[in-house]
Symmetry: C2
Subunit: 584 residues, 2 copies
């Protein structure tokens, strides 16, 4: 693949409006290029060219470094240098499986790879923006995103690829703290590319032999870590924690009333489920979908740290029974979304055992702490659960995308609960061991291959590598906590060291800090976080989440799961909050 | 990136056991390399090295072409040539975000890309095997797939990548006909890689600005094609057709009885749904999950071509009402899984209108025919449906993976039906137009970015490109139909030209063909397809599906959605069936 030299198309424009980055993209590119040898540097300079597609199409920009790269000589204005394939003459129909499409295909895919490699290197560079933010209407106008009857050239396709990455949020950026899962793992990314290339589906062993085996190996290993004897039980990767929680509720209902599968909810008494008021909204969403109804999800009180109060759970269970309802499901949370709280699993397990209720642990966020010898005590009692949701991507896999989530449960129920035995997919007369055809356990028919990423990262890091990553994130959050707990202008939402990486706090700008009218103060404070967040996005320097909770006005919720984050990034976040909020 | 020359590690073993490929991998590799210029050829020779990891680790194989590439000089035996990074000394912790990890990262990712490019080129080569099949226990032993506490080197990670692709099924292979969706589109693949790299989630506009806009643009365009006025309505991409059908059922129930969301199924009368006996199993699966129960899904008779009989539908609707049940949902199928039949949508729409029932069209398989001016009449009446499932990947996108499926419906219901308004995700005081925060419409919390692939392919091909692809697949199936309808030894499962690309037929080997005892003949015939299929997989030459249907014994179901398939591949399939089945 020929290099592009330093040919920066429209780089002036690529910095976007209102850029506050220390370096312009061109400067970034030049600096980056110097770091590398062996042709990598020049690849990195396939900098994200954007929006200016039309401009470029009319007049290709000349190389700026005096290199000899020139337009490829085809009749159309284009983005090619002479020694590469001229993509402005090519269409997707010229690629494989087209006759003699091999070389064109390899060149096209390599070009896309170069765009991605440049984006990756840029993402980890603190001098670049986390996001080049534009309002929806503005973004709609900055590029042609419409679909039409006629095909576009591969040159135009490459321009779309660059534009898409230019306006994307850099979830790998060391200062991106906005979601529970941040960061981009290089082995995970490689595995994901490979999964795309393998391009199959988890239907059956027949169409995904390796991936089906890897799912088996990985789920079993996860069950061993949960603490279920010999890794016994059943499990599946689902499209996300919400769906995993729904699976658990389905299994609990099916175990107690198997007839519900055929006869529906009208054949059973009124069922009730229990979860803490701090639990994830997917528990109610699941109840709504499954025909149980949100009113049958009873919210148990949480203490000031966000943990479920077991005595309130037992009281409400008894109360429900007295009303003639049937308690069938308790969802304890290991790592709540906002506070990062861990419900007391042992006490909850005792209550579930006493009243014969299915105990589920929603460990979507906190489950990964099981891999840390230092922190796994927070989930003590999980081994007594009937089912558990655990999203490895949220913490150990540090990988936002693919909301892959493992739901694990007691053995043997999943098949019975969900199977429909469609003979066109699950033929019973195949020549291999059919216990590997896991498709009929799932609610889905086709199921995305989520396993390879997790499996390959696990191989690359080992369990101890995951542990080190978890411990580091918790160390960073403790650092943040220690830094702000007594700092002027800050107030913690709850006292004490964070149990997970969630650190919840208010920043009180000077203009709010000394207000004496408490109602006015709260009213003003409620608006602080949204304004600071909006400014962060406009400057693109960092991103952190905020929300109200109960009667508490908007506060920042810092979460750390990005392995790229350092102590200095935590310092930067605080400086930025103060810089952007001082006038409020 | 330095090239690997022709250094083939353990190529003798890479051909696997029982290979029937005309060429060995080494021969394939050498032939492939000659096709290319510009360094691509040498990349293609990073041939899939497999299973022989241990052997390689002990004694690196020398280059076979006399090139000067040698072991990299590190202390460990490895897979590196001198001028590349020595991966056997490196771990994932050496990659970004590690200090000075840039160059190592780029080299590692490029190495993975080279492995993938080789796999892609090989996949389209008819002389390679569709699958290198091994029984589960055998496959478990051919490589070390276990997860351990300690990390592995990047060299070992690359070996795992090669092994995974070696034993994967080549869904892009022109002779792979096993599933409804086959083939690998190069622009779609590039888009998928880029989606992985962008690594975000469809929660909100905030974290996926471009992708949220592209989803909006694409869903609206699809609604226009369905024929809903001005593209009005609502839609979402879900993890697959089964989940899309479940969404439709949820919406229908919510529209008729909004109280079910809060109060559950016990607050409403007994609901019943209707679908044809040939419909997809996900309709019953959805009913089981939603608390409606499979017995409340009434199966309507289909004619001999697999189409729902409208008079039977109306009869059963009236019967259900007489029993005091409430008909709330009819799922018509546009393209059944086995026969590829299209239910008569106009007649069904009339019945739904008359009885005030939600009409859903499950066009997971057949929906894409809407893009063909020649074939879209088969879906006439779809514009009268209240909702529709349409999996673009099944036909136009020719892309097995990511069971992305669009469910579209009347406007405004999705939000109401599924929203829970979690304030920690959907803050109402953000600074942009919140109508772009689509997350609360979904059952999922996080939602995978499925849109970019479809959008980029649509840009690259244009609607007319999709149309050409559809028309070609249908032409191929008609070719197959014409070829076998009167051919000796073949029998069609139903008469007449295929409506979709499904061609269902029996092959009767000579030993079965002339049997006079009909019971014995059927018994023997039932076993023919499974044996031929098993042999196909063992030889790895082609793959096609089979199943029984009702009282019909196992028959082949040929489906064509692979743009790489040609008339010659159809001829090959028949020759192969006859070759492998002649002794039965």
């Amino acid at each position: 693949m020929a290099s592009h030299g330093f040919w920066l198309m429209g780089a002036e424009n690529a910095s976007g409006n209102g850029s506050q980055s220390p370096n312009t993209p061109r400067a970034w590119c030049q600096a980056a290029a110097q770091k590398f040898s062996g042709g990598i540097g020049s690849k990195l300079c396939a900098l994200l060219n954007v929006g200016e597609a039309e401009k470029t199409a009319q007049a290709p920009v000349k190389p700026e470094d005096g290199s000899t790269s020139e337009s490829c000589g085809c009749n159309k204005p284009c983005n090619c240098s002479k020694d590469t394939v001229c993509f402005s003459d090519l269409y997707s129909t010229d690629l494989l499986p087209a006759l003699n499409g091999d070389a064109k295909t390899m060149n096209f895919l390599q070009e896309v790879v170069d765009i991605m490699l440049a984006y990756i290197a840029e993402s980890f560079d603190r001098s670049t923006k986390v996001i080049d933010f534009h309002y929806p209407n503005e973004l709609l106008q900055r590029n042609n995103w419409e679909l039409s009857d006629d095909p576009e050239t591969l040159d135009e396709i490459l321009i779309s690829c660059r534009a898409t990455l230019k306006y994307a949020i850099k979830t790998a950026h060391p200062r991106y703290f906005n979601q529970l899962s941040t960061g981009l793992d290089m082995v995970g990314l490689a595995a994901d590319w490979l999964t795309s290339t393998a391009n199959t589906n988890m239907f059956t062993y027949e169409v995904a032999p390796v991936f089906v085996l890897l799912e088996y190996v990985t789920l079993k290993k996860m069950r061993e870590i949960i603490g279920w004897q010999d890794g016994r039980g059943d499990g599946i990767f689902s499209p996300g924690g919400a769906i995993s929680n729904m699976y658990a509720m389905l299994l609990a209902r099916y175990k107690m009333f198997p007839e519900v599968k055929d006869k529906g909810m009208s054949s059973v008494p009124r069922l009730v489920a229990f979860t803490s008021e701090h639990s994830h909204f997917s528990i109610k969403k699941g109840a709504a979908a499954l025909g149980i109804g949100t009113e049958s999800v009873i919210c148990i009180k949480a203490d000031e740290r966000g943990k479920m109060i077991p005595s309130d759970l037992e009281r409400r269970v008894i109360e429900a029974k007295q009303k003639g309802f049937v308690p069938f499901f308790v969802s304890a949370t290991a790592g709540t979304t906002v506070y990062g709280a861990f419900d007391p699993l042992i006490a909850i397990a005792d209550i579930c055992k006493k009243h014969d209720i299915w105990m589920h642990v929603d460990g979507a966020w906190g489950g990964s702490l099981l891999m840390s010898r230092k922190h796994r005590w927070k989930l003590n009692g999980v081994e007594r659960a009937n089912s558990m949701t655990w999203n490895p991507h949220k913490m150990i896999a540090s990988y936002v995308r693919h909301y892959k989530s493992a739901v694990q449960s007691e053995g043997g129920l999943m098949q019975g609960c969900n199977q429909m035995q469609a003979c066109y997919l699950f033929q019973q007369d195949k020549h291999y061991d059919l216990s590997y055809d896991t498709g009929d356990k799932a609610l889905q028919c086709g199921r995305h291959v989520d396993i390879f990423k997790l499996w390959l990262m696990w191989r690359a890091k080992g369990t101890i590598g995951f542990e080190a990553q978890i411990d580091k994130c918790l160390e960073l959050s403790e650092y943040l906590y220690n830094k702000i707990k007594d700092r002027e202008g800050y107030e913690m939402v709850f006292d004490g060291k964070p149990q997970h990486t969630n650190v919840c706090f208010w920043y009180l700008p000077p203009g709010v800090r000394y207000l004496e009218d408490k109602v006015e103060k709260m009213k003003r404070l409620h608006k602080v976080a949204p304004v600071i967040k909006a400014r962060m996005m406009e400057y693109g320097t960092t991103m952190v989440s905020y929300q109200p909770q109960g009667d508490k006005v908007n506060f920042f919720r810092m979460v750390i799961s990005n392995p790229a984050a350092t102590f200095a990034d935590i310092d930067f976040l605080l400086e930025e909050i103060e810089r952007l909020g001082q006038d409020l």
